[in-house]
Amino acid sequence: MIDQVKNTDNDIHFIKEEIKSIKNDILSSQERIEQTIKTQEEIIMDMINRFNDELLKHKSTMNEDMEKLKTQQDVLRISYTINEKKLMDKINSSIREVINRRIEGKEIEILMKIWINEFKEIINNFEKLKKLKPKEFSVRLNEISDTIEVFKQKILE
């Protein structure tokens, strides 16, 4: 029995030693891992910091470029507006020129034609004058007079 106990003691001692050794190993591993993690952490942090620095640098450069682009865009916009106006003016001028060429020497005939159409309208609505109240009658006659005056002036021109 004493041998058994002694053996058991030895086993226990051995196991304790083993456990101790394992613990040490674990500790040592843990340390190593921690160290590795720490190192990795440092590396990553360093990377992140560098990345941030780069990012800030780029951002700053980008902002500058953005500003430049915006300025260029504004210039282009203004330039476009001016050119668009010039283009429209040119188009209108060309159209006017073509129309003037087509109607050259016929302005009065065209005016006469427009007057005749206007006059037909006046005549078509003339009977309705009988149904108008005095104030409306007067207004309508004034409208007709004004129309005639406009055409008289145009034809005289």
């Binding site: 009065i108 005939e109 006469m112 034609k113 005749i116 006059f119 003339f126 007079s145 055409f151 034809i155």
Partner: protein, 321 residues
């Protein structure tokens, strides 16, 4: 009848080339034209007389083109007329009187039976003694009776203003009789005073066919021309030729650009007439407003056709430049 403005509508009718436009132009103070320019559609001239501060007389003279080829006869020419001059050529009485009988007199009696009509012989400056008898025979033959006959000369201005004055005087006498309103009493007399003439001066114009003979006729006309010291053309008067196609006017020695200018001026002028029609409507008394609107509408419809005819003529003239 509320009177502040008296409008008289007088129309001149007759064959082309007899001097209707010249008569009107002479009356309103324009120069006698150096060449013949056909009237397209109707040209309207106006002359106003201010009798007193309350009265105005406006004579509206419608000169109707006589070339039938581009002046279609519009029945509206004959409606609402107060007076009419049936004009014939003293130098060519037969043909021009025939034209009056065939084309104008029936229309006139149908559309304006109460119109005061006068037979006007133009070109009295060309009348020679030897032609007087033929002339009187022609007038009697065509039996255009019942109308006072007056001989005028647009060229020498002989009897022109007197003939128009007679129209106005007779019209005023008519309305004096019809409307017994106090305001109108004596208006014809006042008119004579304003033009410094007597009733006898004006009645003296009228040729009495029953009393006159060729010698008396010639003596009646000629002294006035001599008195005015007007030189009558000694060179042969070239016969006018009827223009059937406006685009070929140049072949008839008629300047196309002058025809066009005339048309445009008449167009502008007729626009002014519409202004006046509208202005008159504004002043029309309420009790006769409907009537005035109807009358105005007829004139406007006539003018519309006239504008269309003028424009078509201009386009035709331009088409063959």
């Amino acid at each position: 009848m509320l009177v502040s403005e008296i409008n008289i509508k007088l129309t001149l009718l007759g064959q082309w080339g007899i001097g209707k436009t010249s008569i009107v132009n002479t009356f309103i103070g324009k120069d006698f034209p150096v060449m013949y320019i056909p009237t397209i559609g109707s040209n309207i001239a106006r002359k106003e007389y201010e009798l007193t501060s309350n009265y105005n007389i406006r004579l509206n003279i419608w000169d109707i083109g006589g070339q039938r080829s581009f002046n279609p006869l519009n029945p509206v020419f004959f409606s609402n007329l107060d007076s009419a001059f049936l004009v014939f050529d003293l130098n060519n009485p037969k043909e021009t009187l025939q034209e009056l009988l065939q084309t104008y007199i029936t229309n006139l009696s149908q559309h304006s039976p109460e119109c005061s009509t006068y037979l006007i012989g133009n070109k009295s400056d060309l009348l020679k003694l030897e032609d007087s008898e033929i002339l009187l025979n022609n007038i009697r033959q065509y039996q255009i009776e019942g109308f006072p006959i007056i001989f005028v000369s647009a060229k020498t201005q002989d009897n022109i203003s007197e003939a128009f004055s007679l129209v106005i005087f007779n019209f005023l006498k008519k309305i004096e009789k019809k409307n017994k309103e106090k305001q109108l009493t004596g208006i014809s007399k006042r008119f004579l005073e304003s033009i410094n003439k007597t009733e006898e001066d004006l009645q003296h114009l009228i040729i009495n066919l029953e009393e006159i003979d060729p010698n008396t006729l010639h003596n009646k006309i000629t002294p006035t021309i001599i008195k005015k010291n007007v030189k009558v053309a000694e060179s042969e008067v070239l016969p006018l030729r009827e223009i059937n196609d406006l685009t070929k006017a140049q072949e008839f020695d008629v300047d196309r650009s002058l025809i066009k200018e005339n048309i445009i001026n008449a167009f502008k002028n007729n626009l002014s007439v519409i202004s006046d029609i509208i202005a008159d409507l504004k002043k029309a008394p309420i009790d006769s407003l409907i009537n005035n609107i109807d009358k105005s509408l007829e004139d406007l419809a006539n003018l519309k056709k006239d504008f269309e005819l003028k424009l078509d003529s201009i386009l035709e003239l331009d088409s063959n430049k």
